[in-house]
Amino acid sequence: VEFTKVAADPSIVNLGQGLPDISPPSYVKEELAKVAAVDRLNQYTRGFGHPSLVKALSQVYERVCGRKIDPLTDILVTVGAYGSLFSTIQALIEEGDEVIIIEPFYDCYEPMVKMAGAKPVFIPLRNKNDGNSASSADWVLDPAELANKFNSKTKAIILNTPHNPIGKVFTREELQVIADLCIKHDTLCISDEVYEWLVYKGNKHVKIATLPGMWERTITIGSAGKTYSVTGWKLGWSIGPQNLIKHLQVVHQNTLYTCPTPLQEALAQAFGIDYKRMDDPDCYFYSLSRELESKRDRMAQLLQEAGLKPVIPDGGYFMIVDVSTLNVDLSDVDEKQPYDYKFVKWMITSKKLSAIPLSAFCGPETKRQFEKYIRFCFIKKDSTLDAAEVILKNWNKQTA
């Protein structure tokens, strides 16, 4: 909320908040326009998810997961993946529980866990190359450290893969370590996979719910906003076994009851189109990630040329950057703020370029560890990246 306000200024090149400024695919916009003309689609639909949408979701995910998914009992449609996180945590987490959160984390996990009365337990991703990080794959969990975080109070672990902000795509082996601990300690796994289609060459998105023993204890969360570049539709979904999803449905029926109908119908149509071409490289699920990969590469190059050290993400549409190499002296500014906060504010005012400080994604103990990093979003149209290029190319001239 804080940073959206600062960057709302149109003279600033906004690479901060994670929203695309590229257009959604035209067929997605067309489907919604078509739907708007159908009278009955302007009234309430089924609370737990519009029938054609849950059917389309079950088809796509049955294919991806290789297992039967019942559209009525195994799926809940929510107001964005945000709403799924909320419904899951309210349904399954309570006072006395501990929930493991991997740092850096999408910032809503902590307050949602606290709102449910539970205790967040943090574990950081650590740079295995100790200072020199070129890739998101360099950031790993220490298995022994992770195991130590699990105890009899642990109710769940929140997993985010592909990861925001680092862009890490957890490998099967890394997921197996987490899965083994979940099974050993009989805990849940809340798997935030909103960037599931955005994985770059050489990487594969693995769903932890497909590992042996994990379907029964995992809620997998997805997002239309991230899948189709329509963050303003605010539609997401939770998929899992009936005995868990039914509790999410109870929360949903006592919080907002039903999601908007026309958006759900349009999304169902869009999924129908892409489901039919899941074997085709033109399927939007694959074409978007190809488009983003070249933006990623361009962004990385520009940052490197400006003397910054980007961490190349294997997935997602964010890139974190080590800004310490620039040695910008901000010691005269407010001592109490972490360096990255001060750096971003300085960058917005003096360079007219915005990003998000990484310590926004950390628990209190870890903020110092990540304060030399800032996060850029690269799901931006060419003209935005062109404007960023101008700033970055001129960066050294001004500071020199």
């Binding site: 929203l19 257009s23 009278d39 909320f86 349904a91 303003g232 029926q253 919080t255 009851y257 958006l263």
Partner: protein, 442 residues
């Protein structure tokens, strides 16, 4: 080595199921929901659905056009996130519009928050204001979600009924004849009372609280320093020249009231799920906290369209072409039509002063559905289920709008929704006429 790994994971998978109770205790007692059951029944059996409350006619053309413009216009950023607490054009026009109605200067950034339907606005209010042990007064019959929402927030619902006064000789009862007993109401307030939920116009009865009735409630709120959650979603649907009075405009009430509204009901677009709250910043800031930790943003395009709808209505306010003038006029006719249909066959309708619901006494039809003495289920619920299965006419039992302990207090009433096309109401009339004929000619 691979072989060892495989058998390892096999034995692990045998322990796969969650063995301990998995759901949070806040879900206790709130898992049942009447709509899930009755919507399914209507979908399966009904030929005429006067059950769930939504119009079967479309939203007005100007609104649909605004939506299409928002979606297909040059500005594709309407498909991306907007301001979390409400799309700027929408909060601006809501502040203007409600400022005018309340005679107050409203700040769109601090006195208005947009929600996913009025339903989510209610959720935010209970989560923001109700703590463990707090009491919340709910007037029966009530829109069924109030009770589970209070419970989910850890609060204790305290119920006070509207009681029917016998109508004048030979006349049909009016929703105005259902009233609170002021002494009984006062007895429900204590120092544990955090809030009272007011719903006017009232779903299901259609009661429009008079100024005098609101003053009684307001005086108690002020005396006991209690908040008022004022659900005014049917604010435009008032008939017979009655006036919808906003309790927030009464003395001492603005500072302790959150007003809830709904685009779904205002513009006949329930499927858009756009609602709002209006109130003082000292209350709304807490709704924002809940909102930013539960859904964060509401969908953009529908907000843009609703903003345009309100802009049109502000220009036409009070004029005959205003949708807020035309819709109640149309619905009043439909109300009168349904009242006539029901009265003609011996179901006794309670004439609603507002909303698009009416409740009818089905006592004369009891012979069709024999009483089952030891049944757990309230009589009207069994009746409504029988009616949809055997007559194809869907309605909702009044007991759905009472707490568990009171479900049998008024168990011979069912609620009809009359926001329906003429053809639907005619078809309902045909079913009722045929039914009556079958009763008199067995």
């Amino acid at each position: 080595l691979p072989l060892v790994k495989a058998s390892n994971s096999l034995s692990l998978s045998l322990q796969a199921k969650m063995s301990r109770p998995v759901q949070a205790r806040r879900l206790e007692g709130i898992d049942k929901n009447i709509w899930v059951e009755f919507v399914k029944l209507a979908a399966t059996y009904s030929t005429v659905n006067l059950g769930q409350g939504f119009p079967d006619f479309p939203p007005p053309d100007f609104l649909k056009e605004a939506f299409v413009r928002a979606l297909s216009g040059e500005n594709h950023m309407l498909h991306q996130y907007t301001r979390a607490f409400g799309h700027p054009p929408l909060v601006k026009i809501l502040a203007q519009f409600f400022g005018k109605l309340l005679g107050r200067d409203l700040d769109p950034m601090t006195n208005v928050m947009v929600t996913v339907g009025a339903y989510q606005a209610l959720f935010c209010c209970f989560q923001a204001f109700v703590d463990d042990g707090d009491e919340v007064i709910i007037i029966e019959p009530f829109f069924d979600c109030y009770e589970p929402m209070v419970k989910m927030a850890g609060g204790m619902p305290v119920f006070v009924p509207l009681r029917p006064k016998a109508p004048k000789d030979g006349k049909l009862m009016s929703s105005a004849d259902w009233q609170l007993d002021p002494a009984e109401l006062a007895s429900k307030f204590s120092d544990r009372t955090k809030a009272i939920v007011l719903n006017s116009p009232n779903n299901p009865l259609g009661k429009v609280f008079s100024r005098g009735e609101l003053e009684v409630i307001a005086d108690l709120c002020v005396k006991y320093d209690v908040l008022c959650i004022s659900d005014e979603v049917y604010e435009w649907l008032v008939y017979d020249g009655k006036e919808h009075i906003r309790i927030a405009s009464l003395q001492g009430m603005w500072d302790r009231t959150v007003i809830i509204g709904s685009a779904g009901k205002t513009f006949s677009a329930t499927g858009w799920k756009v609602g709002w709250t209006v109130g003082p910043n000292r209350l709304l800031q807490h709704l924002c906290t809940v909102h930013q930790n539960s859904v964060y943003h509401c969908a953009t395009a529908a907000q843009e369209a609703v903003a345009q709808g309100f802009q049109r209505e502000l220009k036409l306010y009070g004029k005959p072409e205003s949708y807020f003038v035309q819709l109640p006029k149309e619905l009043q006719q439909k109300r009168d039509w349904l009242v006539q249909s029901l009265d003609a066959v011996g179901m006794k309708p309670i004439i609603p002063e507002g909303t698009y619901f009416l409740v009818a006494d089905i006592s004369k039809f009891k012979s069709d559905v024999p009483d089952v003495p030891d049944s757990d289920e309230p009589y009207d619920s069994r009746f409504a289920k029988w009616m949809v299965k055997n007559k194809g006419l869907a309605a909702i039992p009044l007991s759905a709008f009472y707490c568990g302990a009171h479900k049998n207090n008024y168990n011979h009433f069912i609620r009809f929704c009359f926001a329906k096309e003429e053809a639907t109401l005619k078809a309902a009339n045909d079913i009722l006429q045929k039914w009556k004929w079958e009763k008199t000619n067995p």
